[in-house]
């Protein structure tokens, strides 16, 4: 039967424990992995995601961007509770691949590169968006779709960026009343 499952089941807790163990085996400090309550990513992975999200949807003269909309935190908390362990491992591998690609292109890790260098990495990742094949291209599609969803469902995305005028009571319906044509 259907029910509300907002609480973590025993099985979920075991899975999350396994994720934390995986973080340790990847050489990430356990204390670091637990630094943000409820999240999955390490602080350094989180910082990278935060930067990537802002590069995809930046602050401009019209409205604040993904960083201000806390896009990375939303993605991180969804990863933490993802049902399929592969979601987490794919993301960890994807972010590691971005770093490796940056090292290859710029000779430095992503977070130690300049804005131009980072842009070069993202441009490479996005080059086959319609037909991604390489690991970093596939990861870009996943990254972008999650960033887009998180940003355009945020208060900043809906109200400031898209200036959505609905979800409120209207005296008259919006649009043209064609019953008055004739």
């Amino acid at each position: 039967m259907s029910d509300h499952d907002n609480e973590l089941s025993r099985r979920d807790v075991i899975k999350l424990g396994a994720a934390a163990t995986a973080a340790v085996s990847l050489g990430v400090g356990h204390a670091e992995a637990q630094a943000r309550v409820g999240g999955f990513l390490t602080d350094s992975e989180f910082a990278m995601l935060d930067e990537l999200s802002e590069m995809i949807i930046p602050t401009d003269s019209h409205s604040p961007g993904a960083r201000a909309a806390n896009v990375a935190a939303f993605i991180d908390s969804r990863l933490a509770e993802a049902w399929d362990e592969k979601d987490r491992s794919d993301w960890r591998a994807g972010l590691a691949r971005v770093d490796a690609l940056c090292q290859q292109i710029n000779g430095a890790p992503f977070m130690k590169s300049s804005a131009e260098q980072r842009s070069a990495v993202l441009t490479r990742m996005a080059q086959n968006e319609n037909n991604p094949k390489a690991q970093e291209e596939i990861f870009f599609k996943e990254l972008k779709s999650r960033v887009v969803y998180a940003y355009y469902t945020s208060e900043i995305g809906i109200k400031q960026e898209m200036e959505y005028k609905g979800n409120t009571y209207q005296v008259e319906f919006a649009g043209y009343d064609v019953s008055k044509e004739r």
């Binding site: 259907s2 995809i56 930046p58 969804r78 898209m162 959505y164 409120t168």
Partner: protein, 598 residues
């Protein structure tokens, strides 16, 4: 915060010693209408609903912003919605072997799924087998009316007399003139929004305040006029002016919540069976409601051959009960009603109840979906932001094929549902290439510049398209489940090719840039418009019910839902289901009073 506080009349406990005047099985559009009409005639009615009764207003939260929800409206990760791919590459039962705790039909893959997870059934509890079928079920008070699409259309004699028109299938045992007064009653009792178009194949209703059109939709309407086709504002089963006789429903305020999620309308401007029909019926004092009651058999008196009651399972305790009645009205949905009749085997009726014709479960039909078109409206790019979803629907393009002309490759027709303009979530962002400031601006500039529509085509009823009971598979309560033997045929395939071409042709004529033309059919079942498994007719050898949805075999048994439809039409069925049920229950009450049913 819902702003209509619903106080229901306390329902009396089910009295299993009493013989009710009628038992109604199911509480959706058909069951709700049966309860309304029979109680208004003073009959004592027991309604059995397999699903639960809960405070739907606390569930729907139509005006909650996405960011006010921890997962932005998405259901918990332990739950899974079946995808088109799963329906295509796998055979039912689809939830078998799934690692997820709950598995739902595809509608739970839409935005806002967390608001409807308690409305649709868990496929793990409700398996079925056979051919591929995307079967969407809602088990709760009101059934699928809690999540319906609200397009409220009449059928015409192009449908009721379709065989006379093109030679295929059977005519209905009624004509439009028989049903028109009941369509009027449904319009006035429940409220409907629309614009009169004077079309013979899509008769007008008694409309309340009309729906509006977005700018690009007006462009398309004007284009289609030149092609002798029509685009009309969505005929919404929504009260736009309010209903003085119904204290449970508010008029529509164009909040824009309709298109955002599968779940329904918590001000109940959109019709749902509980607030539109059942609560008012309870207020008469003549209706007893028993939820969590899954009917497993219509019981028969072996000496008279008449129905004497219904055996049901309590879905919480698993215990069996029997309720007695002088008349049984089955309204469990097209497929569940056929299942119940087939389950009701006895020495008197070894093939199942009301099935001397062998037609129960057969002639199964519906609407085929898939072909459609998406266009870009260039002169809308970069325009100041407008509110385009502040209305209870978008547009409908009625059938134009095989009316005056005759298409060489297929019979019958199709219509399109579509929409244009801004929505709360810019879907095009997912398809907009690139990243950075240019990407962001492009998404912003193109918001509201898209228009799309998709077809709903009539699937022909065929005897060889049917459901029966699986000899082995059972549901969570041990009741044999449905096995599908159902495939689209050649007429549907040819119709769908034409549907895609016609959609493209109309958008091109309107000057829209074509972005995508979908030519593929979606999995059988996608339209959620199952019909025809216990059809009406004049010949008891070829039909299950007479023109009043009364069993040819068992005089005190009525089947008042979509299973009675003789053909699918291409027009959405809910309004017709309710008009027919009203007409039949008027007849039922008159016959009951005369003593002709007991």
């Amino acid at each position: 915060m819902p702003f209509i506080r619903i106080r229901q009349t306390p329902t009396p406990e089910v009295d299993l010693q009493t013989t009710y005047d009628a038992i109604v099985v199911g509480s959706g559009a058909a069951g709700g209408m049966a309860a309304h009409v029979l109680t208004s005639h003073g009959m004592k009615v027991l309604m059995l609903e397999a699903g639960k009764k809960f405070d739907i207003n606390s569930e729907l939260k139509s005006m909650e912003w996405p960011y006010e929800h921890p997962r932005r409206g998405v259901m918990p990760p332990s739950s899974h919605a079946l995808s088109l791919n799963e329906y295509t590459v796998r055979q039912p039962p689809y939830a078998v072997g799934s690692p997820f705790r709950h598995v739902y039909s595809y509608v739970q893959g839409w935005g806002g799924s967390d608001y409807s997870k308690n409305i649709v059934v868990d496929e793990k509890d409700h398996p079925y087998s056979g051919t591929n079928y995307a079967w969407v079920r809602a088990r709760l008070l009101g059934g699928k009316t809690n999540i319906w699409g609200r397009l409220a259309l009449r059928l015409s004699d192009y449908d009721f007399k379709a065989k006379s028109h093109d030679g295929y299938g059977e005519d209905w045992p009624i004509s439009y003139a028989d049903l028109a007064p009941y369509y009027d009653k449904v319009d006035l009792y429940l409220g409907i929004s629309g614009v009169k178009e004077n079309l013979p194949h899509l008769p007008d209703s008694l409309f309340q305040r009309p729906n509006t059109l977005a700018a690009a939709e007006v462009t398309l309407r004007n284009t289609l006029k030149k092609m002798d086709r029509v685009l009309t504002p969505y005929r919404a089963g929504v009260t736009t002016d309010g209903l003085k006789h119904n204290k449970y429903r508010s008029k529509c305020f164009g909040r824009g919540a309709c298109g955002r999620r599968a779940g329904g309308c918590d001000i109940h401007a959109a019709f749902d069976s509980p607030t539109g029909l059942i609560y008012p019926a309870m207020d008469t004092g003549h209706l007893t409601l028993r939820t969590n009651a899954t009917a497993r058999e219509v019981l028969v008196d072996p000496t008279t051959g008449k129905a004497r009651g219904v055996a049901f399972v309590d879905t919480d305790s698993g215990r069996d009960y029997e309720a007695r009645a002088r008349v049984v009205v089955v309204a469990a949905s097209t497929l569940e009603s056929a299942r119940l009749l087939l389950l009701s085997k006895s020495t008197t009726y070894p093939n199942g109840l009301a099935n001397s014709s062998g037609h129960v479960g057969h002639n199964f039909c519906e609407h085929v979906m898939g072909p459609g078109v998406t266009g870009l409206v260039k002169d809308r790019i970069g325009q100041p932001r407008t509110l385009d979803d502040g209305r209870p629907g978008s547009f409908y393009v009625p059938r134009f094929r095989n009316l005056k002309d005759k298409n060489p490759s297929f019979i019958r027709g199709y219509g399109f549902e579509g929409g244009a303009g801004t929505t709360i979530f810019p879907e095009h962002a997912m398809e907009t290439p690139g990243f950075g400031a240019g990407f962001k601006k492009s998404v912003r500039d193109r918001a509201g510049a898209y228009i799309s529509m998709g077809g709903f085509g009539e699937v022909l009823p065929r005897f060889e398209n049917y459901i029966d009971l699986d000899p082995a598979l059972k549901d969570r309560w041990g009741i044999p489940t449905i096995r599908f033997h159902y495939k689209f045929g050649d007429n549907e395939k040819k119709m769908c090719q034409d549907m895609a071409n016609a959609a493209q042709e109309m958008f091109e004529a309107a000057g829209f840039e074509i972005l995508d033309v979908n030519r593929n059919m979606l999995t059988e079942g996608w339209s959620i418009h199952e019909l025809g498994t216990a059809r009406m007719g004049t010949d008891p050898k070829k039909s299950v019910l007479n023109q009043f949805q009364q069993s040819h075999d068992v005089k005190n048994l009525f089947v008042v839902d979509g299973s009675s439809h003789v053909s699918a039409s291409c027009q959405n069925p809910t309004w017709t289901i309710m008009a027919l049920a009203w007409r039949s229950c008027d007849y039922l009450a008159t016959e009951f009073r005369k003593g002709n049913l007991s």
